[in-house]
Amino acid sequence: MKARLHFTSVRKDYRKANGEACTAIHDFTSEWMPGESIGLIGHNGAGKSTLLRLAAGITSPSSGKILREGKLASLLEVGTGFHPELTGKENIFLSGIALGMERSEIKALIDPIVAFAGVEDFLHEPIKHYSSGMKIRLGFAVAAHLRADILLMDEVLGVGDVAFQQQSFARMQTVLSEEGKTLVVVSHHLGTIRRLCQRTLWLDKGVLHRDGNTADVLDAYSGFNTAGQGSPPRAFQQTPWIKSMQWSQPLVSGQPATLTVELNPAMPLERANIRLVLHNQNGEFLAPFSPTTSGTSLPSWPAGAHWKMHFDRLPLMQGNYFLGYKLFVCDLEKDGQAAALPFAVQDGLYFPEGDSFAPRSNGLWLSPTWTMSDPTTP
């Protein structure tokens, strides 16, 4: 089978505004096959967008070769080519043609596009009168109906409200179910990649760092080791303010757990406070913690003080999590890290008497109080 996109030793150099040369992509070789859905991940400046622009043919490589097979469509921005003075319908044509559709094709697709975006009543209004949500929906709707063998998308999935996101995912899954389509998605939202892509490429500073099964690459990317591989998660990196931050071991759902934060002994802290934020492995926010939630000022701490946060029953399901923190002294933020402490929780019984729930991960255990009213007793 012939690859849809075939990169051979592709390199891309840029010259910055100050004349300094920099290399955005180093010696990239890869084959993207028909039927594959591929995620591109990496930190800002890793070269993901440059790679998409090379793939789309917007710019050409400084050296190396890119071969394309089949019709390619790229959506690097929602609402490509939209003009505020034109009506919704005119903008559908403008954007569709800019993205490589033919006029007859757009004519045939206009009703599905309008229905997908839900802008039937505003079709003949200039889009400057649209809400920003409507503009985004219309822009995505045009792209979602592109007929192409290779579809490239840069941070455009997951726009709009939750209902529209579900609709977009469903649409992408329909596109993927057609035989031989290749979908390439760049996203910082790892949940999107996990849901849509079987294969993920991790770029780091322009170099292909890892290429493989999405679950494996994402676990590695999150700074975790997949279950059973042994080595402990990356430890907390000491800062001038905080000497250490660690969980009691082992961490098991439903069992006691204590987080100890040790402040640097060289720093006596006036009115210090810490705010912790818990994220799941996709970087999605779960819960905040702080020794003081009311904003009242705290007393001075002696040098080398410890904070301890204790759970009698750890309410986290099995899975991988991050803790981030911000340290405040006299109400000023002095220190902070978004992903300071990655940790893994093992499966355990949260309800001491056992439960009949199917095994799940990365969720929270809650134990609300249940009552049942009986209409026969007054």
Binding site: I58, L72, H83, E85, L94, P126
Partner: protein, 240 residues
């Protein structure tokens, strides 16, 4: 769809966008398309009479529409890649589409101008079609080169409007070629403008001056511009 086909359909759509947006929500709407060249020709007529030139109003009008066809296709075409930054950076549309769309808008304006000319000149005014087309092709060729070069040089970007202002004064639009500065006829744009003005009074195309050179220059720009944009412009998106 092949590259040329894609460029052509994008150019048409962008031209439609430009024309639609230009007159959207104006009270006079399309009247502007007629009023603007007429008003400009009237100003040229008044000022040229003031300095003792004796050119008829239709001749001045013909000269003006030939100049504007070149000026719009050349200047707007030259700025078209820079002004469509987001499309250039986010889509693989062949870059030729951008100056081509401006040449199409210039053609629309030229067609309206020619129509107005026919109103007070009768069918014989159709002769102006030839210098008009000549000037459009010259403007398009020049515009494609400028579209490429303005992505590489920000100086050219600021200099281009100034260049066109100078060119206006160095083209015999509202005066005849002065004897003390006959070199003005060597300006490649002078030939179509002079031809248009003369054809109004004589109803014939009688080429004068170094017209063949201008035709050759037009053909060279018309052919090399799109080729240059294709071959040297592969990485234009990186320079914007």
């Amino acid at each position: 769809m092949n590259r040329i086909g894609h460029a052509w359909s994008v150019a048409q759509t962008l031209a439609y966008r430009d024309i639609k947006v230009r007159y959207a929500q104006t009270a006079l709407g399309a009247v502007w398309a007629i009023a603007q060249p007429l008003g400009m020709a009237a100003v040229l007529w008044i000022t040229s009479y003031g300095v003792g030139q004796k050119e008829s109003f239709p001749a001045l009008f013909a000269g003006w529409i030939v100049w504007s066809a070149f000026s719009f296709a050349g200047l707007q075409g030259g700025l078209s890649l820079v002004n469509n930054l987001s499309l250039v950076q986010k889509t693989p549309i062949p870059h030729l589409a951008y100056p081509l769309s401006k040449a199409l808008v210039a053609s629309f304006d030229a067609a309206v101008g020619l129509f107005v000319l026919l109103l007070f000149q009768g069918p014989s005014g159709m002769i102006v079609f030839i210098p008009l087309l000549w000037s459009l092709l010259l403007g398009f060729g020049f515009g494609t080169w400028m579209a490429l070069l303005t992505t590489r040089s920000k100086d050219l970007l600021s200099g281009l409007p100034f260049l066109f202002q100078m060119l206006f004064f160095l083209t015999p639009v509202w005066y005849s070629v002065p004897t003390h500065a006959s070199w003005i006829q060597w300006n490649p744009l002078s030939s179509p403008v002079i031809a248009a003005k003369q054809s109004i009074s004589t109803t014939l195309l009688e080429p004068t001056g170094p017209w063949a050179l201008s035709v050759a220059f037009t053909i060279v720009l018309f052919i090399t511009g799109p080729l240059a944009l294709r071959h040297f412009g592969k990485n234009s998106a990186d320079f914007l």
